[in-house]
């Protein structure tokens, strides 16, 4: 056997070049995969969506600290009153909102909600555990005044908004 078995072989450079190409292929595939993952990643704006929806509802319902009187009308339509697109909140919606009108814990009118109803429960779940595919939610309470039989009373608006919209690529 001896040392001649291992040393003085003329074919060593050709064997190593095959190994080098193999390494190049691995490096190339890794670079391409990494770049594709990076540049196809989404910028997540769902939280911003939820906050903007809250701001829109709040500024529509409360004017100068007072709850708009139209809210108490029996045929009050929040979509036309607050300039919301009811098609976007229809079937298969990626949005949700729920507005409660309270005075010391009691409702002063029926709550208003629209969008995907399951988001309310999903928001509770998303608070407890990290959930990438669950909606991003925003909830806040805002105090307001309102008239009740010519008497000024104070109330609280509790608004929950949610968005699970990720956008998408048009298919031609």
């Amino acid at each position: 056997m001896g040392t001649d078995f291992f040393y003085g072989k003329k074919g060593s450079e050709k064997v190593f070049s095959i190994w080098w190409f193999f390494v190049l292929v691995i490096v190339g595939v890794s670079v391409i995969t990494g770049v594709l993952i990076f540049y196809s990643a989404d910028v997540d704006t769902r939280s911003a969506d939820a906050v903007f929806l809250f701001n829109h509802l709040e500024s529509c319902l409360i004017k100068e600290g007072f709850l708009d009187r139209a809210v108490f009308d029996s045929n009050y339509d929040i979509f036309s009153f607050c300039k919301l697109n009811n098609e976007v909140f229809g079937e298969g919606s990626d949005f949700y909102f729920k507005v409660n009108f309270l005075n010391e814990g009691l409702k002063i009118r029926d709550e208003i909600e629209a969008g995907k109803g399951s988001f309310e429960k999903d928001c509770e779940t998303a608070e407890a555990v990290p959930a990438e595919n669950f909606p991003r939610c925003f909830e806040e309470e805002v105090e307001f005044f309102y008239y009740d039989n010519y008497e000024i009373k104070s109330g609280k608006l509790v608004v929950l908004t949610a968005s699970n919209q990720k956008g998408g690529k048009e298919i031609i």
Partner: protein, 135 residues
């Protein structure tokens, strides 16, 4: 004369090294080309512009005018030979769609029910936001 070209002692180490260096240059050049092409591609900017425009519409009040710097978008569209500038950005029925090439665009919905007009002024997209007629 033959001896000038043949039977040189450096032959065995010259050609493999040259080929090795050339292949490396081709390989790394391809990688750099791919990375640069990906980073300046349409998809990234389509997504960014669509989301920016939709969020701006949702956070605006009626009778607003919003100007967005669209220079990079125009550059990409020109590179992709998109001729009709008016088709780059469409805002209708609650959806913003930005198309910077001919492979379809990127869309993002907005929740307000405003009337939005889209115009181009030099390198800017100008959005004019107003309430719908009859409101």
């Amino acid at each position: 004369m033959r001896n000038i070209l043949r039977d040189k002692r450096g032959e065995d180490i010259f050609y493999p090294v040259v080929i090795f260096v050339l292949l490396n240059l081709v390989f790394f050049g391809s990688m750099i080309f791919f990375v640069v092409k990906s980073s300046s591609g349409a998809l990234v900017y389509e997504q960014a512009y669509a989301k920016e425009i939709a969020l701006l519409i949702d956070s605006s009040e009626p009778l607003s005018e919003v100007r967005i710097d669209f220079e990079k978008g125009l550059e990409i569209a020109k590179k992709n030979e998109v001729e009709n500038i008016d088709s780059l950005v469409s805002v209708e029925n609650g959806r913003v769609t930005v198309r910077l090439d001919d492979n379809g665009g990127y869309y993002y919905d907005y929740f307000t029910d405003y009337n939005v007009e889209v115009n181009f002024e030099e390198n800017f997209v100008v959005l004019t936001i107003d309430e719908k007629n009859g409101d």
